[in-house]
Every structure is written in structure tokens, then in C-alpha cells.
């Protein structure tokens, strides 16, 4: 019999927590999570089978971060860059710092703002008991960050983070991000995961929590680009308070296997989310994305839009789950999931799942798996553009729901370049 996770990792967890001077409550939370992880089940998603990726078998969670080659950094005043768990850049403009904005690595936050972190960490939507992978994320967390926007502060500049997984190093990537927008605040946060190097086979386990308190407005953009040798569990969850709004624009441009669990809990009355996800799968990779919005609050609005493109012999599954609980009167749940197939060997699925437990609501769904729009192809080609280029442009149009949502031109361009690269690779036989 294999030794249990606890036997294997308890000492390392305690050592790591001590080394990073984590407060006792946090170290205990980790140990508790490690204990529970043994009995908790893996999360299950319709039509997404990821058991063989062995995301629940950590290998090297606490290896040292090695130096990696340079990554081009955007020129911005508000930027956090982490190489594995090592913070390489941590910048916040004086203007924002003076107003009380906090943007640091997770350990600095645990030291300097323990009460704030404790209040929200795994405490608003998902928690340590939710499933085995979330418990493991906490127990073996080896990187992460904290962003806090104080009450009524409207931040105009985008806050950016770049999280680098060193693909040439044998190390599990266990990352946790906590974003808290206090009452009446506004913020745009952009995060970019990327692999630098691709020599080793690794697993990644990422949990991102976004807390949008009453009357706040959070715009969350993500560009996910893990390498082909990384298998990833990526959980993003949001809490939305009274009259608050949380918009997601997620580009799942990974080259490796990914199971994405993107959930939003519309807890407040009049709360609102627009969850937009685009994905491209190539080669023989599998991406399974389960986007869920739960309406708890009266007059809450939850919209899901997922657009994806599959090439070569890859697999892409979009689940859209709209759940309206009893009592959420006057709420609205809409979703659209569309998949474009560019190859006969590819597999695609778009599954709408509506769970409605209240009568006084509006709900709707649309889902399709189809081919590239021939009228658009004809139009572009009639201007001399060759078939493959035209196909890439049409696909970019199809994915534009997320591209156009990204507020920073520089990030938008990065996303466009990423799409272009992935499609060019995917168009090869």
C-alpha cells in the first residue's frame, strides 16, 4: 500500500509553513486540509474525465525554485510577477498604496494583513471541504498572491499579475490567489499564467478566489498558457454581493490538459456576472471547462458565454451550468456555448445544464458544435486572403467575445498573438 499523503507530506508542510513564517492559524489550516484530502473525493464534472492525469498525486510540491530565463514584462506600475513561488517583481503605484490598495505575494499578506486574509481565504464560496483538489491546493500551496481594494475606491489602472511555471524544473505548481473588492470599490485585474520551458512533466493546481462585496465592480481577465507537459486543475470562484458585479473574461490557451472549474455565486440581491470563456485546443490535449453560475439573490443576473475551437485530435468540453435556487425571484440565467470543429479527428461537446428551483425567473440556453462560417470565409478570401489566414481571422472573430473584453491593449495584443500562434500550430497536419 502506498503511504498516505499525510505520512508523506506532513513534515514538509509544517517545515514550509515555518520557513515562510506563516501564522499558526494558516499552518493549522494547511494540516487540516492535508488530513481531509485523504478522504475527500475528486470533483466530478459532466463529460470531463481527468482521472488518468493523476492531479491528486503530488510529486514535488516544495522543491526550490530555480532561476529561469527572462520573460518580457509589460510596462505598468501595478505588477506582480512570480516564478513558481518566488516573487520576482512586486510593484504598486504610490498613489494606490497610499489609498490602501494591497497587492502582494500571499506570504507578505499573511504576515502584514493576517485578519484580512483570514476573513476571506476559502471562506466565501469554496472551502477546504469542497473537494480533494482544493484541500490539496491549500495543504501544498507554494505560491500565490493577495489583492485588496478598499471601500469605495475606484481603481482606474489595471492591476496585472504574471505567474510563471518553470517547465524545466520538476515541481508541482500549487498556486492560490485571493482578490477582495470591498464595498463600493472598482477594479480591473488581469492574470497571465505561463510555462517557461517544457522539459519536465508536471501538475498544476490553482485556486483563484474573487470576492466582490456589496456594490463593488470587478473586471477579471485571465490568459492561461500552460505548456504541453503540464496537467492542470484550475478553479476560479467568485462571490458577488448585493448590487455587485463580477465579470470574467478567460482565455484558456493552454497546450496541456486542463480541467477548469469556473464558478460564480450570485449571493446578493441584484448581483450580476458575465462569465466569458474562450478556449483553443490543439494536438492531442484535452480541455474540459465547467462554468457554473448560481443565482441565490433576488433579481440576480448570471450570463455564461463560452466559445471554443478544436483542432487536430484534441478534445474540448464546455459545460454551462445555470442554477437558480428557490427564492431567487426575478433572477435571470442565460448561457451560450459554441464549439467550432476544424478537424474530423477532434472531439467537442457543448452541454447546457439548467437547474431551476424557482418559478419567477427567466432562463435560456444555446449550444452548438459546428464548422467555420462559410460566408465569412468567402468574404475574406474574396479579398485575396488565403484559406488558412482567413480561417484564423474568422476564428479570431468567433473568439472576440473575450478578446474585446480585455481592457489593456497590451494584454489584448498578447492574447491575439497567442491565439495566432496556437492556430498556426493547430493548422499543421
Amino acid at each position: 500500500m502506498r503511504p498516505s499523503l499525510k505520512e508523506n507530506y506532513l513534515d514538509q508542510v509544517v517545515d514550509f509553513a515555518n520557513k515562510n513564517e506563516e501564522p499558526n492559524w494558516f499552518s493549522e489550516l494547511r494540516q487540516d486540509a492535508l488530513n481531509k484530502s485523504a478522504d475527500l473525493a475528486l470533483p466530478q464534472y459532466e463529460k470531463i474525465n481527468y482521472r488518468s492525469w493523476r492531479l491528486d498525486r503530488p510529486k514535488a510540491p516544495f522543491a526550490e525554485d530555480e532561476n529561469i530565463s527572462d520573460v518580457t514584462l509589460p510596462e505598468t506600475d501595478n505588477l506582480l510577477v512570480q516564478n513558481g513561488g518566488t516573487t520576482v517583481v512586486s510593484k504598486l503605484s504610490d498613489k494606490l498604496a497610499d489609498k490602501g490598495v494591497i497587492f502582494t505575494d500571499i506570504w507578505t499578506a499573511l504576515k502584514e494583513y493576517p485578519d484580512l486574509v483570514q476573513k476571506y481565504f476559502l471562506n466565501t464560496t469554496i472551502n477546504v471541504d469542497s473537494n480533494k483538489l482544493i484541500a490539496l491546493n491549500l495543504a501544498l500551496m507554494n505560491g500565490g498572491s493577495f489583492l485588496y481594494i478598499p471601500k469605495n475606491l475606484k481603481v482606474e489602472e489595471a492591476i496585472q499579475a504574471i505567474y510563471i511555471q518553470n517547465g524545466d524544473e520538476k515541481k508541482d505548481y500549487n498556486h492560490h490567489v485571493l482578490v477582495v473588492a470591498d464595498e463600493g470599490s472598482e477594479v480591473t485585474y488581469l492574470e497571465n499564467y505561463l510555462s517557461n520551458g517544457n522539459k519536465e512533466t508536471n501538475i498544476a493546481n490553482i485556486v483563484v478566489e474573487v470576492v466582490a462585496l456589496d456594490n463593488s465592480n470587478v473586471h477579471f481577465s485571465a490568459l492561461d498558457q500552460f505548456g504541453s507537459n503540464v496537467s492542470t486543475y484550475l478553479n476560479r470562484h467568485g462571490y458577488v454581493g448585493n448590487d455587485a458585479r463580477l465579470d470574467w473574461a478567460i482565455g484558456s490557451m493552454n497546450d496541456g490538459h486542463v480541467v477548469g472549474d469556473f464558478g460564480t455565486e450570485l449571493r446578493g440581491e441584484g448581483s450580476h456576472t458575465e462569465a466569458k470563456v474562450v478556449a483553443i485546443t490543439t494536438s492531442d490535449q484535452v480541455q474540459g471547462i465547467d462554468t457554473k453560475v448560481t443565482n441565490y439573490g433576488k433579481h440576480s443576473i448570471g450570463h455564461i458565454l463560452q466559445h471554443g475551437v478544436i483542432l487536430q485530435s484534441s478534445t474540448l468540453t464546455f459545460n454551462g451550468v445555470g442554477h437558480i435556487v428557490k427564492g431567487a425571484r426575478g433572477s435571470d440565467s442565460q448561457q451560450e456555448s459554441r464549439v467550432l470543429m476544424l478537424s474530423r479527428k477532434a472531439r467537442g461537446d457543448a452541454d447546457p445544464i439548467l437547474l431551476i428551483d424557482e418559478n419567477d425567473v427567466t432562463a435560456g440556453h444555446a449550444a452548438s458544435v459546428g464548422r467555420v462560417n462559410e460566408d465569412q470565409m468567402y468574404y475574406l478570401m474574396s479579398r485575396g486572403i488565403d484559406e488558412k489566414t482567413a480561417q484564423r481571422l474568422v476564428i479570431r472573430g468567433f473568439l472576440s467575445s473575450v478578446i474585446t473584453e480585455i481592457p489593456e491593449k497590451e494584454v489584448r495584443d498578447r492574447m491575439t498573438a497567442m491565439i495566432e500562434r496556437k492556430l498556426v500550430n493547430g493548422q499543421q497536419k
Binding site: Y378, Y379, L380, S382, R383, G384, A390, G397, S400
Partner: protein, 264 residues
């Protein structure tokens, strides 16, 4: 000088409902050279747009007989993009909208598709040209920075088709009802754009219902199309005569047995 010849062209489209091919063009003959502007007029449902789509190479339109020759060579086997790079252009009646791709980027891609990989148009040269062409069409940078036709009004789309024409500078441009939905001011602007292309190296085939457009873009030749054939050709006066007599009058003059769609 380049030539475009349409010889005894028969074209069918497949009916979506019964899956059967329906013959729309029943033997069209037409020869035009660069330096000339031709107009094709005709009642609704007579095959004018089918002719333009068949020349451009829309795969929904099947050529069942006859040929289309560009500088003496058949282009029937050429895909759409090759025909475009060879020098054909079609200003469409219903341009597609594509979000996420800007007008500027689209036009650069179109121009660069005609150039070698190591000889792509320098950005400054492109922008300079774009500025000059926009000015002819009373267009602003703001429009070019927008996503391709997305959210454009009918008139803006037509203008944008002509902007592409001026940027790409084809040998032959087919304008498919470029005047539909345009008010008189927009019509003048669009005409100014097309007229700016006139010259020895440019030919155009203008498809229209109404004579009005031909007041602004004066054609060298006018062809009347009915029931899938060109039934009469002549100078600009033919269009004026048609305006006075109507299609039904002309049909009866010519003793043609064609049913007009709009006729009760």
C-alpha cells in the same frame, strides 16, 4: 490591358428546400477590358448577383456550361482567393461582420496577400495610402480602427467596400448594388470613390436596379439582363430609355417571354 470574358455562361444554384439545382444564368456573354465601365441593369431575380458571384467564385453557384476567361485563361478552376489575387474584386451587397479583426488589419492582410512574405507593405506606407483613400470617401480613422463592418450602418458598409476597393486596386471590380440603401449624399461619395479608380488599368462592372447611380458613374456600356441572359446592350442612353419605359416595356419591345418577379 486586361480582359474579362464571360462566354455562354450557365449557372445553377441548389435550392435549399428540395435540394435540386435551379438554373439562374442561361447563357450569358459579356466581354470587358480595363479602361471600361460596364453597367448591368435588370429586374429583380434575373441573375445579376448570380453573375457577380459566379465570376468571383462563390462555391454556392455552380457553373454548368460555358467559361469565364481572365486575360484569355479560364478561371473556373481557381479558388476565390486566387481570383482575387489575380485582380478581381467584388463589392458585396451584404458584407460580413467580423468582430475581433480591425478594418486596418484586414486591409493590410488583403494587400499583403498580394505581396511576397519578405516584401510586406511597410506600415507607414500603408497608413499614408489609407489616409488618402479615406479622404476621398469622407471616412475617419475611427471607422478604420473599428472591427470589420461590426455595428456599421448599411451606408457605412457600402463605403467600407469602396475603401477596400481603393486600397486593393484590383484590375476589375464588380459592384453589386452598391447604391442600395444609400441616400443621395452617400451615393455621391461612393461614386467619387469609384471614379477615382477610373483609368487604363481599371475596369468595372456595375450592377444596379436604377439609372440614378449611372448619373454619377457614367458607364461606357449598358447591358440589360432578363431571365438569365443579356438581352440588350448599348450606350448610357439605354439606361435612360429604360428608366422611362420600365423593364416591362423593354421586354415587350424585344418580344421576350420573361416573367418579371415584381409584375402582378
Amino acid at each position: 490591358m486586361s480582359t474579362l470574358e464571360v462566354k455562354d455562361l450557365h449557372v445553377s444554384v441548389v435550392d435549399d428546400e428540395n435540394g435540386k439545382g435551379q438554373e439562374i444564368l442561361k447563357g450569358v456573354n459579356l466581354t470587358m477590358s480595363t479602361g471600361e465601365i460596364h453597367a448591368i441593369m435588370g429586374p429583380n431575380g434575373t441573375g445579376k448577383s448570380t453573375l457577380s458571384q459566379a465570376i468571383m467564385g462563390n462555391s454556392a453557384y455552380k457553373v454548368t456550361q460555358g467559361d469565364i476567361l481572365f486575360d484569355g485563361k479560364s478561371i473556373l478552376e481557381m479558388p476565390v482567393d486566387e481570383r482575387a489575387r489575380a485582380g478581381l474584386f467584388l463589392a458585396m451587397q451584404y458584407p460580413q461582420e467580423i468582430a475581433g479583426v480591425t478594418n486596418v488589419e484586414f486591409m493590410r492582410a488583403a494587400i499583403n496577400s498580394r505581396r511576397a512574405d519578405d516584401d510586406q507593405i511597410p506600415i507607414m506606407e500603408f497608413m499614408k495610402k489609407l489616409d488618402a483613400k479615406q479622404e476621398i470617401l469622407d471616412m475617419t480613422d475611427e471607422m478604420s480602427e473599428r472591427y470589420l463592418n461590426e455595428g456599421f450602418s448599411g451606408g457605412e458598409k457600402k463605403r467600407n467596400e469602396i475603401l477596400q476597393l481603393l486600397m486593393i486596386e484590383p484590375k476589375f471590380a464588380i459592384l453589386d448594388e452598391i447604391d442600395s440603401g444609400l441616400d443621395i449624399d452617400a451615393l455621391k461619395v461612393v461614386s467619387r470613390g469609384v471614379n477615382s479608380m477610373r483609368g487604363d488599368n481599371f475596369g468595372s462592372l456595375i450592377i444596379t436596379h436604377y439609372q440614378r447611380l449611372l448619373n454619377y458613374i457614367v458607364p461606357d456600356q449598358v447591358h440589360i439582363m432578363m431571365d438569365g441572359r443579356i438581352v440588350k446592350s448599348g450606350g448610357p442612353d439605354l439606361a435612360k430609355k429604360l428608366e422611362e419605359e420600365g423593364y416591362a416595356g423593354l421586354r415587350d419591345d424585344l418580344n421576350i417571354d420573361a416573367k418579371l418577379t415584381d409584375e402582378i
